[in-house]
Amino acid sequence: MEKSRSLRVQSSIPLWRDERFLRILGQAVFLAILAAILGYLTRNMLTNMRQQGLGLGFDFMRLTAGFDIGEHLIPYDRSSSFLRAYQVGLLNTALVGGLGIAFATILGVIFGVAQISSNFLVQQLARAYIEFLRNIPLLVLLIFLYTAVFIKLPRVKEAVMLPGSVLLTNRGVAIPWGIPTETFSLYVRILILGVFLAIAVGGLLAWYGRRTGRAPLTLLWSVLTLVGIAVVGWVALPDSPLTLDPPAVQGLRLAGGRQLSPEFMALLLGLSIYTSAFIADVVRAGIQSVSQGQVEAAKSLGLTTIQTLRMVIFPQALRVIVPPLTSQYLNLVKNSSLAVLIGYPELFHVSGTILNQSGRAVEMIALVMATYLAISLLTSALMNWYNRRVRLVER
C-alpha cells in the first residue's frame, strides 16, 4: 500500500520498473502460457480423435447399454440405456458410501474412545487395531477380504448360520429382511408424521432452552418422540406393516431375506474398518484437545459427569473433530472407486464398462471426474455449513 502510493507520486518511474504494471504483466504472461499449453493439448486431442473417427458429445448416453450389472437398486437390464447404467452405478456408490460412513463413524468413535480408556487391555487393543489398519494399503485390504475371506466362505450347501439367522456362504451373505404388507404405506405416513413431530419437539425445546438458559436434552427428546410414534404406530395398526423374511438354503441356492454379494460385503467391510481407524484418531485428538481445566471448571460448577460430557467436552471437541472428519468421509466415498478391482458395480466400474462399450473415453472420464468432484464439493459445502453452526456455540 505504502509503496504504491509513493509510486504514484513519482510519476517519473518508467513503465518497466513499475511494480503494479509488472504484476499485471506477469499474470498475463502466466495465463497466456497456461492457455497456450491447454490449447495445444486440446488441439492434439481433437486431431487424434478426428483421426480415430470420434466426435465429442453426450448423445451416446441414450444408446442401449447391452451389458448386465449384477446389483442394481433401480430397474435395469441389458436393453436399458447407458444413462440408466450410469445412474445404477451412481446409486451403488451412494449406497456403499452412505452405509460405509455410518459404520465407519460408529466403529471410529468406539475405537477412538477406547484408545483413551483407562482400561489397559481395551486401550492396547484399540491401538493395535488402529496401527494395523493405518499402515496397510486399502486396496490390499479389499482384495484380501474379497478373495481370502468372503469368496472362501463355505458353499451354499454348508452355509454357516450366525445368530439372528444371518447366512454366510461363498455366494454372499444373506440377512433377514422385511417384506411390506398392505398396511406398509400407511405406516410410512405415520413415520413421516413422527419425523415432523420430532422436529417440532426439538424446535420447541431449543426455544425453551434459549429463553430460560437451561440446557434441555433436545436431541434425546426428539429421537424419543420419533421412536415412540414408530412403536405406537406398529402396535396400533391391525396388521404389522412388515413381515420378517429370514433367508434359507433351498437346494443349491439361497432363498428369502436380503442377499448381499461378496463384492458388496468386502467393499463395505473394507471401507468401513479402514476409514474407522482414521476416524478413531480424529476422535481421540478431538477429545484430547479439550483441556483438563475445562473439566475441572465444570466440576467446580457442580455439573455431573454426564453433564460435563454433554455440555462442556462434546461441543468443544466437535469443533476440532468435524473438519478432519469431513475429509475422511470424502476419502471413503472416493475410495469406493477401488471396487473396480473386486468387481462391485459402483460408479467408476460401471463407467469403465460404458467406456469400453461405447469407446467414448473423453466424455466418460470427464463425467466420472465431474461426478466425484460434485459429490466432494457438495459434501464439503454441507460440512462447512454444519461447521459454522457448531462454531456458533462459541461465545
Binding site: 492434439n44 483407562s118 482400561n119 496397510i136 486396496l139 485390504l141 484380501f144 473415453a361 466425484y372 468432484l373
Partner: protein, 403 residues
Amino acid sequence: MTKELAARAQALPPPTERYTLLGWVHKNLFSTWYNALLTVLAFGLSYALLKPIIAWLIGQSQWEVLKVNFRLLMVGQYPMAQMWRVWVCLHLLAAIVGLTWGIWVHGRRLLAAVLLLVPLSLALLPTISSPTRLFLLGLDVFALIAFGLGRLRSLALRRLAIWSWVVYFFLVILIITGLNPAEGWFPIVPTTLWGGLLLTSLLTVVGIAFSFPLGVLLALGRRSRLPAIRWVSVGYIEVIRGVPLVTILFMASTMLPLFLPSGMRPQLVVRAMVGITLFSAAYLAEGVRGGLQAIPHGQYEAAGALGLSGFHTMALIILPQALRIVIPVLMGQFIALFKDTTLVATIGLLELLAISRSVLAQPQFVGFQREVYLFITLIFWVFCYFMSYISQRLEIALGVGER
C-alpha cells in the same frame, strides 16, 4: 516447596500398585465393575478372533508359494544379470542411513541393532545363494562404515548427508533405468520388466522426488498476491483433491496419448508416475500451505527490513521454517503415496499387489490367497510403520510445535 512435595506425593502410586502384579492388574483392568466387564468382553472378543487365525498360521498355512515366487514378488522380471544394480541402490541407502544415524541419532541402540540384525539373519538362512549372502552382509558393512564416519566428523558431514538424500532419489532412478541403449555395459532395462516391490519403491521414490517441489510451488501459488496465479493454484488443488486417484491414473493411462502429438506415446510406467506425481502434489501443497500459514507475519517484515528480496525471503526465511513445521504432515503424505502406489494395479502395472495377483493366477498356487496377501500386507505394514516411526522421532528431534 510444599506444592512440590504434594505433587510428588501424588505422582507415586501406593506401594501395592507399584510392586505387585495383582495391584497393577486391579488398577488397570478391574478398577470398577464396568471396567471389569470391558476387560472380560475385550478378552473374549480378541480370543474369538485370534484363535482361528493362530490355528491357521500354525496348522494349515503353507508358505511354499512365497519361496518359489520370492524373486518375482521382490523385483518382478528385472533381469538376473542386472540384479547387482538393485543391490547397489540398497547399499547406497544403507550407507546414507548409517551416515544420517551417525550424525543425528544418539542412543536408540536397540533399534539400530534390530536393523543391523535383519540382513545378518537373512544371510544366515541356509537357502540363500552365496552372492546374495555377500550382498546382504555388504549392507551391514556399508552402514557401519558410514555410521562411524558420521560419528567422527558429524559437523563436517551434515551438509553432505542432506545432499546425499536429495541426490539419492534421482540416482536410484538412473541406476535402475540404465544408460546404454545397446547391449553391453550398463544397458537400459525396459520398464516393462520392472515389477514387484522394486516397482512399488520406484513409484514412491519418483512420486516423492517430483511431487514435493511441485507441491511447494502450488502452495506458494495458492498464497500468492497475484490473483491469476492464486486462482489457478486453488482450482488445480481442489479439482485434484476432489477426484479419486484411480480416475487420474485411468486418465493418464488411456487419455494421455490422446493429448500428445500422434507419434508420442510414453511408456505406461512413466504415465503412471506422472499421474501419481500430479495427484500427490495437490495434497502436499495443502500440507505445505498449513506450514506457511503458521509463520508469523513478523518474519516477512523482519526479512523485508533486512533488505531481502521476495525470492530470498521465501527461500531463506519462510520456507525453511514452514517446512520444518509440516514435516509430520509431509511424512504422512509420503506414507499415503507409498500405499497409493498399489492403485497402479488398476492400469496393468505389475507392482507388488498386481504381481501377487498374477502369482496367484498360476495354476499350482490358486488357493494361496491368504498366504500371499498376508505376506505383502506385512511388507507394506513394516515399511509404513517404520516411516511413521521416523516421522515421530523427527518431530521430537526438530522440536516441532515448540518455540
